[in-house]
Amino acid sequence: MGSYVPTTAAEREQMLSKIGVESMEELYAAVPREMLLQDGLDLPAGLSELEVRERMTALAEKNRVFRTVLRGAGSYRHFIPAVVKSVTSREELVTCYTPYQAEISQGVLQGTFEFQTMICELTGMDVANASHYDGATAAAETIPMCKDRKRTVAYVSAATNPQVIEVMKTYCFASNTELHVVPAKDGRTDAEALKAALGADAACFYLQQPNFFGQIEDAALLGEIAHAAGAKFVMGVNPIACALLPTPRELGADIAVGDGQPLGLDTAFGGPYLGFMATTGALMRKLPGRIVGQTKDVDGKTGYVLTLSAREQHIRREKASSNICSNQALCAFTAGVYLAAMGEAGMKQCARLCISKAHYLAAGLEKIGCRLKYSGEFFHEFVTETACPDCRRRILDALAEKDILGGAEVDGGILWCVTELVSKEKLDETIATVKEVLHA
């Protein structure tokens, strides 16, 4: 048992005597007696480091790590350069607090400023914040950025990751905001339905690009429809896809958000990831969360500080539009290191590998009789039609036997995802395995 307390019994006595009390118990004099735990917590005894290591390792070993992953749906296994972990495991970076004392926090502040710049570059937007919890909460927090007294209703495409829609619904339940889901047709947002749905009270329309089914939406058209109705156009984007796809800015978005997990973060059973949020200069002061700005010190030397803080909860309290305090700073720093390591060429190559390999797998599966459920252009995810759940099960089980985590089951099909990590051989093996099941 250890509690990382260095104090010896003798030191404790000296300290108590300096304080002027007899015992540790006296320090808790304000706590009503009847409330104190008489026999302590009902917990196991503490363990030595050796025992803890055994216990935690045993838990880790009960999990199965697939050699090959063809599942995305909001969490993507990509290649992580060695420098990323090496840099981001430095103790100063891992153990420091939010950079309130700017003079001794320039490293975190500058790293965040660089991250903000890179997110602006990826999305084409003017400003970005220092991160949000994840892509879903970032999406949900765009709604209060767009609402005003007259425009109070939010819209989201049905082709959005269902978990993102769920989180948006929770946030809207909180703020008593109406949220409408705009239907999809053939795996993409139904533009006519959007046009019909948006009223004079429409605050914003959220579109995921590529959408949950991997399909590339006609974002420019949908953005025009949103703007024509006077609503803000919000895009949720995949940061790897951003390297190849037209930017949210080019497509007319007022706000671009997304989950930064693909940028050098492990899938880690769902977290920690990071949300990124970027917007136009016009909406800059509506961004929630921390923002780092460049300035000068008293000697005229360039430095960085947390800025525009009067937007935030610690100053604006109940008038703040968001309560966010801690974000995912280290994850944002990690994404920055990843983007620096990849560079423009690396990002484009990564995106090209993803899309090319996804199309190779899709074509291979089509050739053996799988039908693609949707007809539109896609990025690195696509859905094959496999209506019967039992058949889906058999395909996924057969792949699992080959140490391949197959696609995610979605309504009437399987949602596949291919990243740069999967070699042609593995894709061929996947196709052959599915073929065996289908033709058995």
Binding site: T7, P44, K169, A174, A243
Partner: protein, 476 residues
């Protein structure tokens, strides 16, 4: 320091990815906007970030008594366990039967923290403290909504509260009723009695409160709110003072969040990722965000609570942060948890005893795990402010205490040493604090211009806010 965009040169890069081994696919419309990212070699890249890290003060670099933030030592074994591939390489949507260890880890942590909190169910979905508050207040909202009790539109918050409390209540659609604190920094019972009524949805409270004192009227406080039909939310920011000694559930609270990155020793990472575990009493469990981890005859799986408020985040929260917290809880166990709390309180009282000979304390002791000094007199007598003293500490390689919080104390410095600091270090630090105090009288000018030895000196925050430069601009 140069930005990474100003390092290296066009053509410098890392060699990371292979050539494409399948036919290359071109999209019908591709990006035409330029994509400016750094051009650096691996050597240039690592040197840049190493240089940045040298300009950061972490817990490993020295004393970090940031009040209300609980900057305790972050054990290395916790980091190592959280980086086991059996945890980091799991896909969140892989079949439950292939992630039994991960689910079991969450289940154990939920059970053990439930015991520490005195609560019946725990979720790890919230990513941070404020996110936990949001989740907890939504449980309260769902409870009233479910009962058809729609007249409850107000949340009571003491004026000493963290800004996240009123901001959370507002985000959840509530009107905030601020109530004044009494002269001991606690809840003014008369003000509370006057504030509650049929429109009270609940109370948000930190106990020990933000001035570092345990509110001796806590049972009366929660009773007043319950009698009015409201629920009580415990902000666990200061749980480190009382864990294993007294439980929020036994104080009369209905739900709680705990910052695993404070109390349970997971590192802060410069402002996250944290984790905001939320616990609740059995009657609120059905409103918890889904999914919750459940055990059935030795198998672990997910369950969506019947009347769930819905998801608050993707997947199951900041999972590997939870792995670190579990490693910590297993290490401390039954005895270690209360030992940590008691020593956190001992250390704070010891520093307060050492400092009160010079500094004015905002409230008479004993304190819990932190205490607040008010430098109003010093400011009045010397012109040296709490900010000046804090900046003076930087020249001694010390991270200053929290400044100007809570708002109800003028010229506040809030000191939280944590249990992992030694008497020797605290003696040394108190010596420096006292030296700075004396300097305020002998050489105030040096404090007005401090710090002098840091990588940059005081920065122009006004200029930064008036003319925001929030990104690097590349030459066209």
């Amino acid at each position: 320091m140069k930005l990474i965009f100003e390092q290296g040169a066009e053509g410098h890069c890392l060699h990371l990815l292979p050539a494409c081994d399948v036919p290359e696919y071109q999209l019908s419309a591709e990006r035409t906007a330029p994509l400016h990212l750094p051009h650096v070699s691996e050597n240039e890249l690592t040197r840049h970030y190493t240089a940045l890290c040298r300009q950061i003060h972490g817990v490993n670099d020295g004393f970090y008594p940031l009040g209300s933030c609980t900057m305790k030592y972050n054990p290395k074994i916790d980091e190592e366990m959280a980086s086991l591939p059996g945890f980091t390489k799991l896909h969140p949507l892989q079949p439950e039967e292939t992630a039994q260890g991960a689910l079991e880890a969450l289940h154990i942590l939920g059970t053990e923290l439930g015991e520490v909190f005195g609560m019946d169910a725990v979720t790890f979905q919230p990513a941070a403290g404020a996110h936990g508050e949001f989740t907890g207040v939504l449980l309260i909202k769902a409870y009233h909504t479910d009962r058809g009790d729609t007249a409850r539109t107000k949340i009571i918050v003491p004026d000493s509260a963290h800004g996240t409390n009123p901001a959370t209540a507002a985000m959840c659609g509530y009107q905030v009723v601020n109530i004044a604190s009494n002269d001991k920094g606690g809840v003014d019972l008369d003000a509370l009695r006057a504030a509650v009524g049929p429109d009270t949805a609940g109370l948000m409270l930190t106990n020990p409160n933000t001035v570092g004192l345990f509110d001796p009227n806590i049972l009366e406080i929660t009773k007043i709110v319950h009698n009015a039909g409201g629920l009580c939310y415990y902000d666990g920011a200061n749980l480190n003072a009382v864990m294993g000694v007294v439980r929020p559930g036994d104080m009369g609270f209905d739900c709680i969040h705990s910052n695993l990155h404070k109390t349970f020793a997971t590192p802060h990472g410069g402002g996250g990722p944290g984790a905001g575990a939320v616990g609740c009493k059995a009657f609120l469990r059905k409103y918890m965000p889904g999914p919750l981890v459940v055990e059935q005859s030795g198998k672990f799986g997910f369950e969506y609570p019947e009347k769930s408020i819905g998801r608050v985040k993707l997947f199951y929260g900041n999972f590997t942060v939870c792995v670190k917290a579990l490693t910590y809880v297993c290490t401390l166990g039954k005895e270690g948890i209360s030992e940590a709390a008691k020593n956190a309180v001992l250390n704070a009282n010891y520093m307060m005893a050492c400092l009160k000979e010079k500094f004015d304390m905002a409230y008479d002791g004993p304190c819990m795990h932190e205490f607040v000094m008010s430098l109003t007199r010093l400011h009045h007598e010397t012109g040296v402010s709490a900010l000046d003293i804090a900046k003076g500490m930087l020249d001694f390689d010390l991270h200053p205490p929290t400044m100007y919080f809570p708002l109800i104390v003028h010229e506040a410095l809030m000191v939280e040493p944590c249990e992992t600091e030694s008497k020797q270090l605290m003696d040394e630090v108190c010596g420096i604090y006292c030296r700075l105090y004396d300097m305020a009288y002998t050489d105030p000018g040096a404090l007005h211009t401090a710090p002098h030895t840091t990588p940059v000196r005081r920065l122009d925050e006004v200029g930064a806010a008036r003319n925001p430069v929030l990104r690097y601009r590349f030459e066209a």
